[in-house]
Amino acid sequence: MKKSLVIASLFLFSLLPARAADAFCGFYVAKADTTLFNKASQVVLVRHDDKTVLTMASDFKGDPKEFAIVVPVPTFIEREQIHVADKALIDHLDAYSSPRLVEYYDENPCQRMVREELAFKSAAPTGAMDAARDNRSLGVTVEAEYTVGEYDIVILSAKQSDGLETWLKTNGYRIPDGASKVLRSYIRQGMRFFVAKVNLEEQTKLGFSYLRPLQVAYETPKFMLPIRLGTVNADGPQEMFVYALTQKGRVETTNYRTVKLPTGMDIPAFVKEEFGDFYKAMFTEQVRREDMRSVFLEYAWDMGWCDPCVADPLSRDELQQLGVFWLDEGQGIRAPMPGGGAQDVFVTRLHVRYDGAHFPEDLVFQETSDRENFQGRYVLRHAWTGGESCPAAEEYRAGLPGRRDTEAETLASITGWRLPDIREKMNISAPKPVPYGKKWWERIWAE
């Protein structure tokens, strides 16, 4: 671990000052009893008419003074374009858009009665971020230096990647092998570098024990996230959640396939206790099937409502804090209202697991006019256990084993879990000798 002082968070390039003794192994998430994705970061991309507000959060748990990030940005950034956001905003957005578990209880087939209950678990990790210090140049121009909230921020431009590398090294950063080439590519693309470290004094003054997300607003036709620096020398694949808030519709990647996660299926009831594991296994399985070359769509919804709601839609104020700049005064965001009409904010949640080999290029996005809603939704259907007897009930009971089998098979197929293990957990007997198991002639003269 000591070796990998440079840990790349996502598209961000997290650099630890060389003086840092111990580093962190990645980003951890544990929500309730659900330990999910490591090395994950969350990014909110608010975009409309080339105007972009980027909010970056990663769940850094180490010593704040050991943390720094370098983010390539397309334009010069003024002091007023940088802001520090409240981490709760991202947590709320995460909860709102998380894949959800829905629970239903079968009605008594003899009477028509419905009961429905929802159970949710949040699936994404949460995050914060860190930063460090900077200074002088050699072929590198320090275009600006700001202190914003608990962060010291430097905007750099460079002519040569060696110059930039030297600057970073002289300023106490350790650069991974291979980063120089990537830096050069960004320099030639005319990108600036946004370098942030934590100002410990400010942090103490402000009294935050965690690192709040950094926000940058800029205007550029480039609708992309630079992920390449983060993949240099990365210790295994990384995880990123991108929440795009747009006006028109769903966002997708144009240079990678964007795939919808499997959704809407009935799965065995035991998953309720291990929804986190389920979701993680399912995601891993889908990544495997796509040969780790796709970006996954987890949620696409009009921010005006949700159905079912894991968390309320974000308020107008929260959206504004995240950078949504096109909401007119007084227009507001409506309260959650199933079936509500189109709103002015459409949220797309993308989840990508990536490394340099499978994602050689930065992510490039486009906003489509697709306003079709999509959510990761998994259904638990509890069997009716009443003792009443009627023809409908008999038929219902006869259908149950088949239904459980299907649930087990569905679960096995989407998670890659072993079918016998699933059956064991479901307490159902191993594959019953169903008629298909018999030879066709055995079925003719059976009994």
Partner: protein
Amino acid sequence: MQASRWNMRTATRAIQDPRHYQIATLSLLLAYGLLFLDFDMDAARATLILATALSTQALCSRISGLPRFDPKSAFISGLSLCLLLRTNSPEIALAAAAAAVASKFIFRWHGKHIFNPTNFGLVVAIGLTGEAWVSPGQWGSAAFFAFLMACIGGLVIRRAARSDVTYAFVSAYVAILAARALWLGDPIWIPVHQLQNGAFLLFAFFMISDPKTTPDSRPGRILFAILVALGAGFVQFGLFRTNGLLWSLALFALGVPLIDRILPGGRYHWNRTGFSPRPLNDGASNEKEFGHRKPLPV
């Protein structure tokens, strides 16, 4: 005897007509996309687009007094739209298909139509409505390589039939991507990844190669292909916009009459019927061999 000669002739024509191969390739690709690639498209929408393209072709043929309704070109346009055009609105899909086919009859210059129909349909739908889009990333690498093979196969089958545009365009576009990567110091995987795109193949092998919209002379076609590649590169890497290929082709298609004037070549005639098995030596006129009354457009 008479009948068997006729059958032979029909069969030869069917094999020689590249549109049969194109229809087969695009249909398979569409089926694969619908079944395995999670295309934002369903059978009903595909049927709507195809039916609209075909009926527009029938209607326009009748209005413009063409003696025969030939569904093949319109079918190819329809299939290409199914593969590329995405919209939530059936009306826009319908309008795009109708505009695509009708553009062949409306925007004409010296017996040639100006725009490739699919290109026109897409540009109109995206540019005018703002409610349509193309998802260039929606192709898995398996589909890409299968489609690549099919496209190359198509070239082999077509022999010389205006493939020079495709060759010139692919070479120019690859050169642009490679030069950019070289200049940026990017690894080779980046341009390779940028090329692994089904929409690019569809464009190079089915759209820009449309013999009725490309310049008449070979030098003209090569110039045209290079201009389209440069334009596409500029849109993508200079303006940072998507669909560079489509915008560039639509723009430079307007310049084809000028290119034809500066670099004239053998004019392509639709009204010749009958198949004559002459060797295909001149890219400018070889579609005559197939005796189409309609262009070979997508």
